[in-house]
């Protein structure tokens, strides 16, 4: 398998705090890779660096064979690298359907086309069916439950046909049934060719779904390997429980 995402010696500091410290790892194409670590280990900062929300102070990020270090988040998205947020971020005053359409990754010229074209409706409609959001398609996103918003955010980033999706705690604050639903969607989409990098604290979820698992501590990668090996790795135990 080729590496779809390569992070090399990435550094990101906030004042004297090195949130990401010479971090390097790779994400193989078609994998579901987990990125775990204690709170404050730099996972979300790393996500922000990879997806162009933050510029790294040093190091390199390559996606699909191209150096994309510091590239604008919108451009990365249009090139097939998309993400969700820890706190589901949807556009509350847009309808559920419009939340999908707006994420279609349109060109400048397409801005002058219809708000929701027939093609948009069909494409969004298929995703809404798949995520069982069709009955609420015309509601405002602000009227959805938190779990539904998480699903909507996930569905929306699929609108542009991404190659790599970064999910930031997809199961946080979501009920067990919804967690299963989320897991099923990730598996299905992975089968159809999308690579996932997932930050998650729910270890059962990670063990069931992800391989390999990357562990971060204090901004550095301390382990990368099979999920069963994670639990017995002394470095990982030390990071989580302290020596």
């Amino acid at each position: 398998m080729t590496d779809l995402l390569i992070v090399e010696n990435a550094v990101k500091s906030f004042g004297s705090l090195r949130a990401v410290d010479e971090c390097s790892f790779t994400v193989a194409e078609s994998s579901i890779t987990a990125l775990i670590g204690p709170n404050g280990s730099g996972k979300t900062t790393l996500f922000n660096v990879i997806t162009g929300y933050l510029k790294p102070d040093a190091g390199r990020v390559s996606f699909n064979g191209r150096d994309v270090t510091g590239t604008d988040a919108g451009r990365l998205y249009r090139h097939g690298l998309s993400r969700t947020f820890q706190q589901a971020r949807v556009f509350p005053q847009l309808s559920v359907q419009e939340n999908l359409v707006v994420a279609g990754g349109y060109s400048l010229r397409q801005l002058f086309t219809r708000r929701v074209s027939r093609a948009d409706r069909e494409k969004a409609g298929a995703l809404l069916e798949e995520f069982r959001l069709a009955p609420v398609a015309d509601l405002l996103a602000s009227e959805l439950s938190y779990g539904q918003r998480k699903l909507l955010e996930f569905a929306a980033v699929l609108m542009s046909g991404p190659r790599l999706v970064l999910l930031d705690e997809p199961t946080a604050g979501v009920n067990p049934v919804m967690i299963e639903t989320m897991e099923r969607h990730i598996r299905e989409r992975n089968t159809s060719g999308i690579t996932f990098l997932i930050v998650e604290h729910d270890m059962n979820f990670v063990m069931r779904l992800c391989d390999p698992v990357i562990v971060l501590d204090r901004g550095k990668q301390i382990f990368a390997g099979h999920p069963t090996d994670v639990q017995s790795n002394p470095l990982v135990l030390d990071a989580y429980l302290g020596s």
Partner: protein, 344 residues
């Protein structure tokens, strides 16, 4: 557009076109001209302040650019045809948009209250320039524009009709943007700009487009105003009160709606003009004007149109639930379709 929307628009503009034929008194026509000016400017401001959620307080600077563009041109040129200044309006809009572009590129890197402060600075810089570039603007002495040579009995009509066309233009642009992906992109910017950027929305492009179109239209109104008044001073051509009026009218009528700014202008500008006539030179009219605004904000905090829409929606829901037989009343709330916010 729905059939009702077309009818509403047609009826509104037919009324506007027919109004002067009732031979209204000069003061009424004068008031109508000012109501139209503010309706156009509020509609223009709504593109940036309403749809994109960037509360610009600098729009009066562009009103002033339009006013000074006309005044400066006729400082050195003869007015041979009374309609000529109107023909120059598209060019004035273009100039204002070009001036607005770098200003937007810099100021729109900030948001919300910081953006408001940056743009109000632009306003005061423009006013200071108008005061101090005496060799060009004649400073505080002001500039005269040759008076329009229209018939005295129907003097206001040409201005009135040009402003009607401009209002149709501003509303058509608003409507078209709401119907296109530009409107969708602007809504996403207003809700969560970082997220919008992250899902590939051309955030910068739509913001700059909205700003440039908005200030272009504002400058056209400034030019018409200057020609109508035929004398301009820096403190009136670049007046914070003009900006404040645009903001208040848009908020009053309903932000990010098609008709909100028009309704706001109709209510506030009419109130202001009538109160100014009633209370004459005393400043009591300003207090009365503020009172009108306070009352509406107290009773209709989201603006007139969105509040009425909410009220109608609730009433429809109530009627629907009243008429539904008992078993179906157990439907979850999600099954009741909700109208979209901000689509008047």
């Amino acid at each position: 557009m729905s059939r009702l929307g077309v009818l509403r628009g047609a009826a509104f503009f037919a009324t506007l076109v027919a109004l002067p034929s009732f031979n209204l008194a000069h003061w009424v026509m004068n008031m109508a001209v000012f109501v139209l000016m503010f309706a156009v400017m509020s509609s223009a401001w709504n593109l940036v302040g309403g749809f994109a959620g960037y509360p610009s307080l600098g729009h009066a600077a562009f009103f002033g650019i339009g006013a000074y563009a006309v005044a400066l041109w006729y400082k050195n040129h003869e007015l041979t045809n009374a309609w000529h200044p109107f023909l120059a309006l598209p060019l004035i809009a273009l100039i204002a948009a070009l001036v607005g572009l770098p200003i937007a590129m810099i100021s729109m890197r900030t948001r919300a209250d910081v953006f408001a402060i940056v743009t109000i600075t632009v306003l005061f810089v423009a006013q200071t320039l108008a005061f101090n570039l005496r060799s060009i603007t004649d400073g505080a002495q002001g500039l005269a524009i040759p008076p329009a040579t229209f018939s005295v009995t129907t003097f206001e009509r040409p201005f009135y009709y040009v402003l009607t066309v401009l209002l149709a233009f501003a509303m058509a642009i608003t409507w078209a943007s709401m119907r296109s992906k530009i409107g969708l992109a602007l809504s996403s910017v207003r809700a969560d700009e970082d997220k919008a950027r992250g899902v590939g929305v051309h955030v910068t492009a739509v913001k700059l487009l909205a700003f440039c179109v908005s200030v272009g239209i504002t400058a056209m109104v400034g030019a018409i105003w200057a020609y109508y008044e035929s004398f301009i001073y820096p403190q009136f051509a670049i007046d914070p009160l003009i900006t404040i009026a645009m903001v208040l009218m848009t908020f009053l009528g309903g932000r990010a709606t098609l008709w909100g700014p028009v309704v706001g202008a109709l209510v506030l500008e009419t109130a202001q003009q009538v109160l100014a006539y009633q209370f004459g030179g005393s400043k009591i009219y300003l207090i009365a004007y503020a009172l009108v605004f306070l009352l509406v904000m107290l009773l209709l905090p989201r603006g007139i149109l969105p509040t009425i829409q909410d009220w109608l929606r609730q009433r429809r829901r109530r009627l629907a639930t009243d008429n539904v037989p008992p078993p179906a009343a157990n439907l979850p709330p999600a099954a009741v379709p909700a109208a979209h916010g901000g689509r008047a």
